[in-house]
Amino acid sequence: MEMVKLTIDGIQVEVPKGTTVLEAARAANIQIPTLCYLKGVNEIGACRMCLVEVKGARNLQASCVYPAADGMEVKTNTVSVRKARRVNLELILSNHDRKCLTCVRSENCELQALSKQLGVDDIRYDGERIDYAVDDFSTSIVRDPNKCILCRRCVATCRDVQGIGAIGATERGFRSIVEPAFDKSISDVNCINCGQCIEACPVGALREKDDTDRVWEALSNPDLHVVVQTAPAVRVALGEEFGMPIGTRVTGKMVAALRRLGFDRVFDTDFAADLTIMEEGTELLNRLQSGGKLPLITSCSPGWIKYCEHNYPEFLDNLSTCKSPHEMMGAVVKSYYAEKNNMDPANIFVVSIMPCTAKKFEAARPELSSTGHPDVDVVLTTRELARMIKQAGIDFIKLNDEDFDPTLGDSTGAAVIFGTTGGVMEAALRTVYEIVTGKTLENLEIHAVRGMDGVKEVEVPLGDVTIKAAVAHGTANAKALLEKVKSGEKEYHFIEVMGCPGGCVTGGGQPIVPAQVQMEIDVHKARAAAIYDEDRALPVRKSHENESVKKVYAEYLGEPNSHKAHELLHTHYTPRKRY
């Protein structure tokens, strides 16, 4: 690799050619402030917070887009640099709706942090503002243009990373705004509710629809039996909201906190993930044997499902009919569990704690109500759960570990890896291999489907057939893969798609990591490593060996894909308009 040598604030650094001055400064332990920059996603030099002096250059330069070159001399902390950055920041603040006290992002806001870092103690300009209506019609995403600083990080994420473009920069000058086309609500366009734009937003202009009040209300209603379940990815991220390092496993503390909040039962979505493998594995084998529609495509990710409904109606029959795991859990709680405990499902309230904003939309789908009641009553994101724990005054860090409640809280390592890209495929292959061949899988870990490559492929010999499988994450990658399937360039039996890049660990409901931290830490890698540690730490690591799943089949469901299983655990899809 060709290297270049430069000095930054008198410190010699050597970096690969093509590195920006912003990144090179990190090598000298200098943090240049940024606002519109989001590594690898939005590098447009728009906000001018990252200005530096480059010897020989006429004006101050935006370091996030300025390539480091041999012999360059850079100064990041001069009077003129500090002054220019501050004026720019004050201009942004001058027409910002500065209500930090009531803002969800207070204390995790890049604008607020910058204001402190740059020592802004007065805002000398008072800019005129347009008073925009807050768009809160969506089940998942709330847009507040009054807080938007027009950095376009969300636009680049939605358009380029997700391949959607549900929101864009429109109008000009004073009227510039980031919004869906034709002034529509985000609930009325092709938004898939993935929440990746929220993760990208440095401020409080995009946020999840907060449903904590509905849960507090249910918890204080003595007539309701309130059951909670947690998705695999939540346990490796929740700790971040309490200051723990990225990638800390807090499964036991999370369960303890949920009990203290007053939930009557704490179940694990992982149980339902094992159930999903039984249902979906069987569906795959049936389709293979009976010449059914292939490739079979996974259906755990509601962001991906809505994307498919908008953009690939011709693939709806390829989707597995399996509900997503937490919906299966809801249906099992309101049927099997209700009957067993002599309860009226009308009095059971199911709350799902998810790393995902799209699951809020999913829970509201009318077809997902097998018992005549919604399978899941409320979905909370990881962030909302943290909010409730804080509101309740629970000292999370000091909690002792507790276990999930029995049966519907029992799960395997195969289930926990659902939380990252490749995990559903790996879990399915572990089970399908053993069921078809009757042999024990020597090496459980299928590394070909792990990691952050956009599309991953694997071939697994199963007796006389070889299963060809592919994994895609993030909808832009899914699109690329499906186009190849459509054109006949590629053929597969089985495809896993997760709507968010990296899968659920980096889902749109997870703790928001500031852009500056993302420059240092690979968030997906850290959280996924925790997921794989969790898998390795569990005594049972294959879904078909989950004794509690076997028990529920024996006592209630019959066998995978039985009539009863179909009633409770499967669903159908709806084609939607492209825009």
């Binding site: 358009r159 929101i167 864009g168 429109t170 109008e171 086309a181």
Partner: protein, 162 residues
């Protein structure tokens, strides 16, 4: 996509497809295509923008962003003359509503609409900054003040024949 405008304008959409095919591989095709489309349809309504987005396989927001950024593009069909009736406080107090009603009656359209012959578009607007002349209307760049409903026919007639 609403089918009605597609069916009513089959030929125009066929022409639009020809335009897209001609320009899509050129440098900066979007501006060119939007210009031609506006010539063809007189404006860039949602159906036309969706059609272009789908043909080029780009997000609708890309097109809408360009269409709203440049003032030469318009999203709704407009008449040759846009009549803005000030509904600001001063004008309202001095009888703007009666003036607006008279305009509606005279041209036969409601505020926000365009006459079928595309001569007039009628709009209710905010304060035009000429409160001393209240009630005020503007027809393109011409200002008329201190109006009473009986003035309207004469004014409108001036533009009708042009």
């Amino acid at each position: 996509m609403s089918t009605s405008i597609l069916q009513d304008n089959k030929e125009k959409f066929a022409e639009l497809q020809r335009i897209i095919d001609e320009y899509k591989d050129k440098e900066g095709p979007l501006m060119l295509i939007l210009h031609k489309a506006q010539e063809l349809f007189g404006c860039l309504p949602v159906e036309v923008q969706e059609y272009i987005a789908e043909s080029l396989d780009i997000p609708l927001t890309d097109i809408y962003g360009v269409a709203t950024f440049y003032s030469q593009f318009t999203l709704q069909p407009k008449g040759k003359y846009t009549i803005g009736v000030c509904m600001g406080t001063a004008c309202y107090v001095k009888g703007a509503q009666a003036v607006l009603d008279e305009l509606s009656k005279e041209i036969g359209i409601k505020p926000g609409e365009t006459s079928e012959d595309f001569v007039f578009t009628l709009e209710a607007t905010r304060c035009l900054g000429a409160c001393g002349l209240a009630p005020v209307i503007m027809i393109n760049d011409d200002v008329y003040g201190r109006l009473v409903p009986s003035d309207i026919k004469g004014i409108v007639d001036k533009y009708r024949g042009r």
